[in-house]
Symmetry: none
Subunit: 413 residues, 2 copies
């Protein structure tokens, strides 16, 4: 099956936003056995959209339109679709009910623009959008399927994952594919590749491996293609068991699991609790933890001790340590961890102190230097890392590293 | 002048890389008054490239091709260009000298693939590539200009900045465009649209307005086209002044400014400091603040008081208030703010307490209910909002709302 992605919106053509939607869609569709023939970005202009639809219809079996759906009046996509499919706009009651409910939950009054979002071309199948107000739309013309989704990434992703791909699979347009992603932490991509080289080379021909690095972790995605889904699952599981032997410490989870989720499960099981004391990570560790639903069951809370005054007053770090060793030191980070553990009355506490940058480094402690400590029952461990000079990446990497040290500490205790 | 960007390469169409080149080119060209009509991504396939060239030639005055140039054998772009422009490949001595020199400097031996990089279509003007080995190429056919540049971002940027834009400006091909983005907070897209409808409808014809919503804010982008850049700037500034009258409280900044940056500037100017006390936002406010370089100059730190115990111990919230009103209440959030202001010894403190979801709501306090308070010199304000049922979005929206209330409080005090 061949597909074309058409993105609608001036913001891409003036370079204000980078088109990340198309890369995501292309990846998902390729993994499902659908080849992306072309990606075309066009203006919020009816003639231009019509022309792109016509060109695409001649060449592909599936057209995915993103963008151009929303409550403001620069939206012309729906009217253009009516014209292209020779149909008229009708009021779609279930969509209106959904919009009303969303607004009611937020205590906001509906206006005419919101009501207009419930208007859809009569000949389309409406794809309910639980992630937003503008519904997706599915059209068929001759032998080509056209789907239209909003450009807001999480709404687009919701519709592709929950409405579009399942429908294509049910229609037998795609073959059986099984993906599983292994989450690893603590080995850079090149070192990881070296460690698992033999395993990678011995994978069966129907299993493809992809390295998906991001600042948080290196993910390894195994994609198996075949005819029997259960057989594919078994095959992938066997390969993962072999992989676990090679990098036992570095695999922390699977698919979309986060380190904080994995830590939360371990703590809940043991009935233990956690506190954090952050300096250079500035609240990001706490954010990663509290992004996990139900984290209040095992997370007591934390402090962002940005100034030395707060390190002393809230965490009980000693003036002597701060003066003698400086805030970015093993001594201080250990006192931050034990202080947080005591003051917040938790079983474990993790602490960070470092120089996120872009300035503030010295010869002895360059930008990117970060000390970590984890205080647990009966023991405190500390470790130093030196990252790069990008503030944003240093905050993210330091936060992940802190959670990884915490995970290993919980396992061994 | 109208242009089309054609990117060549399978890596974009399988979603392996995100096409950042096109956004960069689009931004540069728009700033030079060249409108990007369309962006098209095609496969490394001669027929496909030929078809894209033909379609573009019919519609635009300038075609920018990126990618498909390099020493490896999957490069078919140059041969396709020879075919399209009905010319033949010739050896270009200056390019070969340049390649030889680069290799000599790096002590690497030349191979046949490197020598082939000096082959170019006879009818093109060669654009010397000081940032790499593959040269850029400039063709003219009928009234359309075609330029071809490598896909490696810094080589592409070098050629656009040093060879292509200067040539277009010398040819008098560009007009003036000016963009400015207004950052707003606190009004959903549809309400904002209603508030500014008359202003929007009365904009001069040469100014276009675009709504760019994201979970953090709704951005309004004004794009003015004309002949005199200074006149355009003045025109846009006039319209922004009129807009400010309509939504004075909701505009917090311009272009890529964040709320935390704006707050930091105000505090630095006044020599004042900030602390936060977070419950449902779980550290995200602190993260937004500490993402600003230099925030240690005005941010003291904060607490994530996830459990009631921490609210009492670290912030001094009273047991009575917690028992009588519950953690999500005006009384408690006020005590959190004043407690943080005192304990962290700051001029301002902002506090949040709410139900991020997906569970934990009650009939009286549904998921998405969030109380905010800001304690400042001599005064504490509190406000309640009810957001939706998505945990991630509730955390982001609550954090932005907290910063917006803080900004307004700092201004009025």
């Amino acid at each position: 099956m061949k597909a074309e992605i058409i993105t609608i919106g001036d913001e891409i053509l003036i370079g204000q936003i980078i088109d990340t939607n198309s890369a995501w869609i292309a990846e998902q569709f390729n993994l499902s056995g659908i080849e992306i023939y072309q990606i075309t970005s066009v203006h919020d202009d009816s003639d231009h959209i019509m022309e792109a639809l016509k060109n695409a219809e001649e060449k592909v079996d599936l057209v995915i339109l993103t963008g151009g759906l929303g409550p403001t009046k620069d939206d012309i996509t729906k009217h253009t679709l009516c014209e292209y499919f020779n149909t008229k706009m009708v009021f779609h009651e279930p969509t209106f009910e959904h919009i009303k409910q969303r607004f009611k939950n937020r205590n906001i009054d509906l206006n005419k623009l919101n009501r207009d979002q419930a208007l859809v071309p009569e000949s389309c199948t409406v794809l309910p959008n639980k992630a937003g107000t503008a519904p997706g739309m599915w059209f068929e013309k001759n032998d080509t399927i056209f789907v239209s989704v909003p450009g807001v990434p999480f709404e687009m992703k919701y519709l592709v994952e929950n409405e579009i791909l399942p429908r294509l699979q049910n229609n037998g347009k795609t073959k059986a594919i099984f993906h599983k992603t292994v989450q690893t932490q603590g080995l850079p991509e090149s070192m990881l590749a070296q460690r698992i080289e033999n395993w990678e080379n011995s994978l069966p021909k129907n299993i493809k491996l992809a390295y998906l690095p991001n600042p948080m972790s290196v993910r390894l995605r195994l994609s198996a293609m075949g005819s029997d889904l259960n057989e594919l699952k078994r095959q992938v599981q066997d390969e993962i068991e072999r992989l676990k032997q090679l990098i036992p410490d570095h695999i922390f989870g699977f698919d979309n699991e986060t380190l904080a989720e994995v830590i939360g499960k371990m703590l809940l099981e043991k009935g233990q609790t956690l506190a954090v004391a952050e300096s250079c990570t500035g609240g990001y560790i706490s954010h990663l933890i509290t992004s996990v639903p139900g984290s209040s069951g095992w997370y007591k809370g934390g402090t962002t001790a940005y100034s030395n005054e707060i390190k002393q007053n809230l965490l009980g770090v000693s003036v002597e340590s701060l003066e003698k060793h400086g805030a970015v030191s093993e001594q201080v980070v250990r006192e931050m961890a034990t202080g947080a553990r005591n003051k917040l009355n938790a079983d474990f506490a993790v602490a960070t102190s470092g120089i996120a940058g872009p300035t503030g480094g010295t010869e002895e402690k360059p930008v990117g230097t970060v000390w970590f400590a984890v205080a647990g029952p009966g023991n405190t461990v500390a470790e130093k890392f030196v990252f790069g000079d990008n503030r944003e990446r240093n905050i993210i990497r330091s936060s992940q590293t802190a959670l990884q040290i915490l995970r290993k500490t919980i396992i061994t205790l």
